[in-house]
Symmetry: C2
Subunit: 414 residues, 2 copies
């Protein structure tokens, strides 16, 4: 089966919003083993929309259209499709009731024009919308299939997974199973160098590297009869990659650094405290992203001023005078001071120049010192980061969390 | 002139990356007053790429292609275009020299296949790449124009602005000038209701609302001979909208809430401190996003545990026992305690249930109390938020900052 993705909406055409729906659907179709050769975008214009359907069905068996299911006159995706297939739309009373109930739930009056969202041909397969008012539908005509999904990504994704995927899997004789390995502290080119032969020679599964801000991911994808068989193909390759990359692999699939780290801390009952200057709370904010963290996160200090560094986390005034607030010495005292003030096993600290101002020749923007105190021992690390204020602060957080993770693993804390 | 945007690349087609280039280009072409009726995406496949050029030039005068200018055999965008127009590519020695110099600068050996990036027809208009190795080009053939830009967004945007815009403006007799108003504390439907007649009747300028996470933006766009004339058209409409929406308009264009708030605090020399429970540092982290904030941000306390609430910001144990950590009473004491401990004019606090666990019937997930202390007076506010942990924490930060902004404005602090 060959599919294509058609986004309908002037707001995408004019660049008001990014077409993230196309990426989501393309990615999922690849996983389902359905070929996609074209994406396109067309505005809320009946003539060009009809031409777009025509073109798409010349090239493909399955067209997935997103957007244009709203209640207004501009919303034409369904109407043009019904006309294209010569199908008459009739009111589906049960759908109308759902829409009325939706408005009751959110305590808003229903507009008369919302009735149009309950109009579908008799033989259409309805896809319910559990996150909004507009249902979607599947229309089969000969060996051509049109699926119409709503535009808002939250509604679209839920409907795609709940209704369209179960419909599509029956056409497949094989599926794609994939697993993503997440890597920190190693650039994409270095990763590619270490597993060069694997990237080059692997056919099934394939391995694709992708660089994101501050991390690299490796996606291993196997084509197989079912998920069990797919995972069997992936396992030995994953083992080999993990062997070569070692500690740099911090997690898999949707796991996050703070989740991986949080689990280690909670399972080993290691309490933690933070003292932050340049990151200003983002480090603590990130650690606390992990819901289970409350049993070990003692407290955080945002010591942006010199006075608070002295008063809260016991940095010595002479250290600040002699080495400055942005120094390895200050970072060390902040980390130790935070742990001791909070009565925690671990203290983490950050101090640096996030810019845009404040840099000097000796201490340029992007120079950051981070400190780590674990049970009596204190270490520091110098980071030289590039980018704007936001990026420097975010990269400091990621680097610091990854550093703690590595230090714990080195000490056999897992 | 009618344009369309063609993205070339299997990684977009398969949904590995989002086609943000299309959004950027579409948005800029709208500002330049160039009509766009289609976007499309095609993979690195010579046959389908040729068909895509053919289709695009049947519909449009200007085709802007992105991606596929790299050094590998997969990169075909230029090659297929030259063939499509029947033009022979020759080596441009000066471009080859640039590429060699680029590699020298980043201290890497140049691959033999990078030579291909210096191949262009004799009559192509070259667009230099100051951020990578692949130059772009413009090919004119009759009244058809093809512009080829590199795929990496950073390279694409720079080349678009530096070379393609200056080329395109000569075709324009008018430009689009736009201004965005940013609104918080009022939903999209409420905004639309208040300015319903303006949304309905305005032709030039037009006004388009757009809902983002936690805020609403209104984009006012005027078509005019030049920027001065455009701004003259925008001004009276902007004034009218601001009159009607009042304090809800917090900023314009690219300004952020923390920047707007930060400026008020710094200009009025109002010092601030924070005490955070559920936001865990994100509130301080957000305030500190504004680079000028260091003169007024005194310190932040991440008091995630009850002990730290008592010890650092002087919450009374009996308050915690009687009302609980998530209560208006605790929020009030945290805000006051933070301000007093730090010696600040203003104290802001957050305490709530961010989930996914920890909710009860009486205090469900999403219940958050925020506190505000200003010079002797303390207020609290109850928020009932929906969404996941991350969203609840982010919305708490946005609501709290906007609340402080409004309170300051109400007290004539601007």
């Amino acid at each position: 089966m060959r599919a294509e993705i058609l986004a309908v909406g002037t707001e995408i055409l004019l660049g008001n919003i990014v077409n993230t729906n196309a990426q989501y659907i393309a990615n999922r179709l690849a996983e389902l083993g359905i070929e996609v050769y074209h994406h396109s975008v067309v505005g809320d214009n009946p003539k060009r929309l009809k031409e777009a359907y025509d073109l798409a069905f010349k090239r493909s068996d399955l067209v997935i259209a997103t957007g244009g299911l709203g209640p207004t006159k501009d919303d034409l995706t369904k109407e043009v499709a019904f006309e294209y297939f010569g199908k008459e739309a009739v009111l589906h009373e049960n759908l109308l009731k759902n829409i009325e109930e939706f408005f009751k739930k959110i305590n808003m009056p229903m507009g008369e024009n919302n009735r149009k969202q309950a109009l579908f041909p008799k033989d259409a397969i309805i896809m319910p919308n559990n996150n909004g008012t507009a249902p979607g539908c599947i229309i089969e005509e000969g060996n051509k299939i049109l699926a119409v999904l709503p535009g808002p990504p939250r509604e679209m994704k839920a409907m795609f997974e709940e209704s369209l995927v179960p419909y599509l899997v029956k056409f497949q004789d094989s599926i794609l199973v994939s697993k993503t390995l997440r890597i920190m502290g190693m650039g994409e080119s270095k990763v590619a160098e270490i597993i060069d032969d694997i990237l080059e020679n692997s056919k099934n599964p394939t391995v694709a590297p992708y660089a994101k801000e501050g991390e690299v991911t490796l996606r291993i994808t196997a084509k197989a009869k079912d998920e069990v068989k797919g995972n069997e193909l992936i396992a030995p390759l994953e083992r080999e990659i993990r062997n070569r990359l070692g500690i740099a692999v911090y997690g898999e699939d949707d796991s996050t650094l703070e989740e991986v780290l949080g689990k280690i801390l909670v399972e080993n009952i290691l309490t933690i405290a933070t003292a932050e200057s340049c990151t200003g709370g983002l480090l603590a904010g990130s650690i606390i992203n992990y819901p289970g963290i409350s049993s070990v996160f003692k407290e955080g200090f945002v010591t942006y001023t010199n006075e608070s560094k002295v008063e809260r986390v016991n940095v010595r005034k002479e250290t600040l005078d002699r080495f400055g607030a942005v120094s390895s010495e200050t970072a060390a005292e902040m980390a130790e001071g935070a742990a001791k003030a909070a009565g925690a096993d671990i203290g983490l600290s950050t101090t640096g120049i996030a810019g845009p101002g404040g840099g000097t020749e000796e201490k340029p923007v992007g120079l950051v010192y981070v400190g780590l105190y674990i049970k009596g021992e204190v270490k520091t690390k110098e980071l030289n980061l590039i980018g704007n204020r936001q990026r420097i602060r975010n990269m400091t957080v990621m680097n610091t969390l990854d550093w703690l993770r590595r230090e714990l693993l080195k000490n056999n804390v897992k």
